[in-house]
Subunit: 380 residues, 2 copies
């Protein structure tokens, strides 16, 4: 097992509003949690991989990894600050996995962090380099197009999409670190303010502040250590810009990850996906092979992906309820999967979970800046 | 030589003002140059490593690597967007070196890019997370403190520091891609507007627009290919905040790089260092072991580091004259070293150059966000 990479420690802050806490302080809390959880000392850490999408733009923090490393007493080692939009944290994890698998380090720290809460009415200056974005195709508009096409092509309904939000808020109500803990009804989701037809307010994830962290090792040291069985990062193929109902890069990443882990969609006990908007989760069901193309809405509607269902998806509450600090979400997903596989998820525990998958994307559907990361963990 | 990493192709735009050219277009120009130079097709590229410090902050471009890859016809492969302040491009190169040395890819593209020119009078919102920066310790102030301490401790003079700018502008006048091509006298440097005592306007590098690119391979394919003999990235030790005249992380990185390359300062034929301010180049002479601690000012004064001297430093013109798009500079340094080792540097050619070193830092001297990258190239 010398080539195995182990998830030895996990940590995260609550996600939500942290107006009085700096970005580096959030990172310190999550990092210290992960170090403590792994029974690791700062001196053991051979490199730091820090994913943050917005730290410089919104916080004036150009090298968050060093700042957080300094707070944790980690000195002198290589620090990689990585950005890949919403996949920033997962990209940092993928780089860490590469270096451990190659034997370049024995133990590393992965941090995902962002403070993304902004004054009401302000629009994030992301993707402003794209003419389409400047003309109005910001994220909700992009994913409304995805939803419209999915509805037209496959008969997916607003009620099915709303079910994603209902489920994830129910899950979030069981997660003490989630941003939102209240339950929503399907009607409340459908009746909330229209953002971009058919996506209503409760169909969209929030911007959030928060951090998550992982300690990875090349050697198993404790009984709670988990195998990081697959780590794949892909970018867009850009070859089907008129088909918004599938992401080629996700399908490719999932296929590669299943091959690496020696499993497939039927072998998954628990899944975290990138539900930035309700429609996204449905598209990801299909991209990951949890159901046939076009069948994602029905899968959600019959409860197969809820806690207690065939394959629970986003037991953490997902981006919709746990919240979405872009740089942190990809790491937080893996924290959730690890917590589930350890059997430490409390009220939202998936019974006997042994294999879990986390999927996240960066960039827009129409744009040329897509990234997709897929990670698979399993118990030893 | 299976573990060797080869620099197979180099490319860069001119540095300076490119108001009508987008960031991704700059990256495309440099990338296409490098691909052509390496006789490489986009389909050969297994991964893209893109260093940019300011792309999202100033250009609204959150995933520049994907955008540039798309422009170049590179699809589906992992793309890493890396930030490490002024060391962003060099950090991207270091990641690429890791993955090639580990055998994860056979051929990759490294891009460094930024558009950093800003409206007159505006101050870059970098490091604003540090209270010291908010209180006024922006970069010129930080390095003025370095200069003051170096003067007091070692007797370094303003005239010696000015000589750095005179030399680098002379070198820049021989580089068709440099931002500044005019010669400066020592008196002109000393008499230019005071920015932060003793650093005058011509003691400070400009903000610039530009891109640079490298194609790296695991196999030597052409007679102009060069060995990337060492690649080291370190971060701050943070243990001597009251001694501003040396960077522990630079000393550590240089030592590790010399060991990897099996050489030392006496074995270097040509060097590029991070002369963001004149005093920086002097400190780097000492950190890299080109002279004893404190002797950097005298080394410059006697012309040892000028073209024609014992070990020419910054034959490209350095940041002071070539210009400084932060994400691009670390890659552009390696482009210059490669050009010199190939004997293709024209009027600024260092005769018989066989071994060259590039050094760059990120973050501030006083702060907790330091990074230092050192790369050594040699002819085969």
């Amino acid at each position: 097992m010398t080539d195995a990479v182990w998830v030895a420690g996990v940590g995260m802050t609550s996600f939500g509003r942290h107006p009085q806490t700096s970005l580096r302080a959030l990172g310190r809390v999550a990092g210290l949690d992960a170090l403590t959880d792994a029974a690791s000392e700062p001196a053991e850490i051979g490199a730091v991989y820090c994913g943050s999408a917005l730290s410089l733009l919104l916080q004036g923090e150009g090298a968050p990894g060093q700042a957080i490393g300094w707070e944790l007493g980690i000195r002198g080692v290589p620090v990689f600050n990585v950005a890949n939009a919403c996949a920033s944290g997962a990209t940092a994890l993928h780089l860490a996995w590469r270096d451990l698998a190659a034997g370049l380090h024995d133990c590393v720290l992965v941090i995902g962090v962002d403070k993304a809460l902004m004054p009401k009415g302000s629009v994030l200056k992301v993707g402003a380099a794209d003419p389409e974005v400047r003309l109005g195709e910001i994220f909700p508009a992009t994913f409304a197009l995805v939803a419209q096409q999915h509805m037209r092509r496959f008969g997916t309904t607003p009620a099915q999409m709303a079910e994603i939000s209902v489920k994830n808020h129910r899950h979030g109500s069981l997660n003490p670190l989630a941003q939102f803990n209240q339950l929503l009804t399907r009607q409340e989701v459908l009746d909330s303010m229209m953002v971009a037809d058919p996506l209503t307010l409760y169909s969209c994830c929030p911007n959030s502040d928060g951090a998550a962290a992982l300690v990875l090792r090349r050697q198993r040291r404790g009984p709670r250590d988990l195998v990081l069985a697959a780590s794949v990062l892909s970018s867009g193929q850009y070859d089907n810009p008129r088909d918004f109902t599938r992401w080629e890069c996700e399908i490719a990443a999932a296929k590669a990850a299943y091959a690496l882990a020696g499993t497939g969609p039927a072998g998954l006990d628990v899944v975290e996906v990138h539900d930035a908007f309700t429609i996204c989760e449905i598209v990801h069901y299909e991209g990951l092979g949890l159901c046939a193309p076009g069948a994602g809405g029905a899968l959600a509607e019959r409860g197969a992906t809820a806690l207690g269902g065939r394959v629970p998806v986003n037991p953490s509450g997902g981006l919709l309820a746990r919240g979405h600090p872009p740089g942190a979400s990809g790491v937080a997903q893996v924290v959730e999967i690890a917590t589930q596989l350890r059997g430490e998820a409390g009220a939202r525990q998936v019974p006997n979970a042994r294999v879990g998958l986390a999927q996240i994307m960066g960039g827009s559907q129409a744009g040329d800046t897509q990234a997709c990361a897929v990670h698979i963990l399993r118990t030893y």
